[in-house]
Amino acid sequence: MAGIFKMMKSIITYIKEVLGGLRSLLKGMRVTGHYISHPKEIITQQYPENKNTLKMFDRFRGEVILLHDENNEHRCTGCTACEVACPNGSIEIISDRVLNPETGKKKKEIDKFIYHLSMCTMCNLCIESCPTDAIKMGKDFEHAVFDRSLLTTVLNRPGSKLAPGVED
């Protein structure tokens, strides 16, 4: 008698296991079934076609750019604070002493602001350390090139000068 009772119990556990397993599988199928029946909820964007509507956030760190205003003047005094703050030497500033004709004194002015995009880690330390707010992070993220030498750029535009009134 006890033997039959045990057998019934094991049959019932077996059936419960099978049905419980099937139920869990169906629940999982309901989740994926929901997403295939709602194609409006697709989250991916087609990349080159959405460039017109793509807007990056203000603080996005794309690359370092030197700000120029409409008179082609920048605010970099060549203090090399950014060069010292950069952890791996992505910024090199070449400056020379230029004779200022008005006051007759020699002042340091930058000749070239060399920026190695290939080594930059976009850590933002250079922007922080600049005392005159001359550089900021740009929003361009498409930096792929075929020729590596294009990644080493000179940031100050030809013919640009230091804006008046910017002191060290």
Partner: protein, 362 residues
């Protein structure tokens, strides 16, 4: 040539007549065999292309993304591009591999699929090989595919391929049992193994609805067993990407790999077609016995669309399984078959036989 979309036997009879007037008896038979062979070859290729594209799109929609969109309009030419890429690859053979068997294995699988597809009824009158032991023939022929899998694993001379092939072989052989038994449950109702008679007997309604509970259980078991038989879905341990090897077809590249790939999709189509024929009525429209007006509305849609629609539904179910569930380990797979599916199947057949004897079905 007369063409009636509701009854293809009109078309076949007229072709037979016109051929008969042009040449002698045996020449007619040979020409007809050649025509049927060519039609099936193109069907194979076209269906393969469509199925691969559909799988990628459906997988993408399950995952809330878009799938192939670049090649062709909405990515329709993607499979064609993939086929061209596969054809251009270098066909390598491993050192010390058994050359004859290595080259033979993909062909065996393709031949088995081909022979199985010949017996499937596509529409009323569009049935290439209506043998009187239809279902028996198909289950027997699909067993030949296992030989191809084992040969591929052995001939690659790679111990990991051999492990993968052994696992695949064990899996396919075990699950064939369940497929056969679940089909047998419906044969108890129809009383005949011939495909055209199985479909005729569903004129009053599909067996899935008329055979109520045992037929429903048999359908679920058939779905599970056929996904396991075709090495798909949650049962694809033998060729999974995140396990150690790529299974029995690791060493194949180029056209031969394309054959394995194609054969997997064709097998999926074949088992879906068999399921649609036996459980869901093949090309027979949805009829309910006694509702004459409803039946005549349903008869308006041509049978060939019914057939492809039902097969597409079962294929969609199989794809749904694949993209939702994690994989089973090999010992869990075999436990599932021998400890769960087989006993349930046997009891189900007993119940169905009991119901049929008492007439407790619609």
């Amino acid at each position: 040539m007369k063409f009636d979309i509701y009854d293809f036997s009109v078309l076949t009879a007229s072709i037979h007549e016109s051929l008969g007037s042009m040449m002698g008896e045996t020449a007619v038979i040979i020409t007809e065999m050649v025509i049927v062979g060519i039609i099936f070859l193109t069907l194979f290729a076209v269906l393969g292309l469509i199925l691969v594209y559909v799988e990628r799109k459906i997988a993408a929609f399950f995952q809330q993304r878009l799938g192939p969109m670049r090649v062709g309009f909405w990515g329709t030419a993607q499979t064609l591009a993939d086929v061209i890429k596969l054809l251009l690859k270098e066909p390598l053979i491993t050192k010390n591999a058994d050359k004859f068997l290595f080259n033979l294995a993909p062909f065996i699988i393709i031949i088995a699929s081909f022979m199985a597809i010949a017996a499937i009824p596509f529409a009323n009158g569009l049935h290439a090989f209506d043998i009187d032991i239809g279902i028996f023939y198909i289950t027997a022929i699909s067993s030949i595919g296992v030989v191809g899998v084992l040969l591929a694993g052995w001939a690659s001379n790679n111990k990991y391929s051999l492990i993968g092939a052994m696992r695949s072989g064990a899996q396919i052989i075990s699950y064939e049992l369940s497929v056969g038994l679940s089909l047998l449950t419906i044969i108890v109702l129809t009383g005949s193994l011939q495909f055209s008679e199985i479909i005729e007997s569903q004129r009053e309604g599909w067996w899935l609805f008329r055979g109520h509970i045992p037929a429903f259980i048999a359908f679920i078991i058939f779905l599970i067993a056929s996904t396991a038989e075709t090495n798909r879905g949650p049962f694809d341990l033998a060729e999974a990407e995140s396990e150690l090897t790529a299974g029995f077809h690791t060493e194949y590249s180029g056209l031969k790999f394309a054959f394995f790939f194609l054969a997997e999709f064709m097998n999926m189509f074949i088992v879906a077609a068999i399921g649609a024929t036996v459980f869901l009525g093949g090309w027979m429209p949805l009829h309910f016995g006694g509702l004459e007006s409803f039946n005549s509305i349903m008869d308006f849609i041509p049978p060939i669309f019914w057939f492809f629609g039902k097969t597409a539904f079962i294929i969609f179910l199989m794809m749904w399984f694949k993209w939702t569930f994690p994989r089973l380990r090999i010992d869990q797979l075999l436990t599932l078959e021998w400890k769960y599916l087989l006993p349930i199947n046997l009891i189900n057949i007993l119940i169905m036989a009991f119901f049929v004897l008492n007439g407790w079905y619609f």
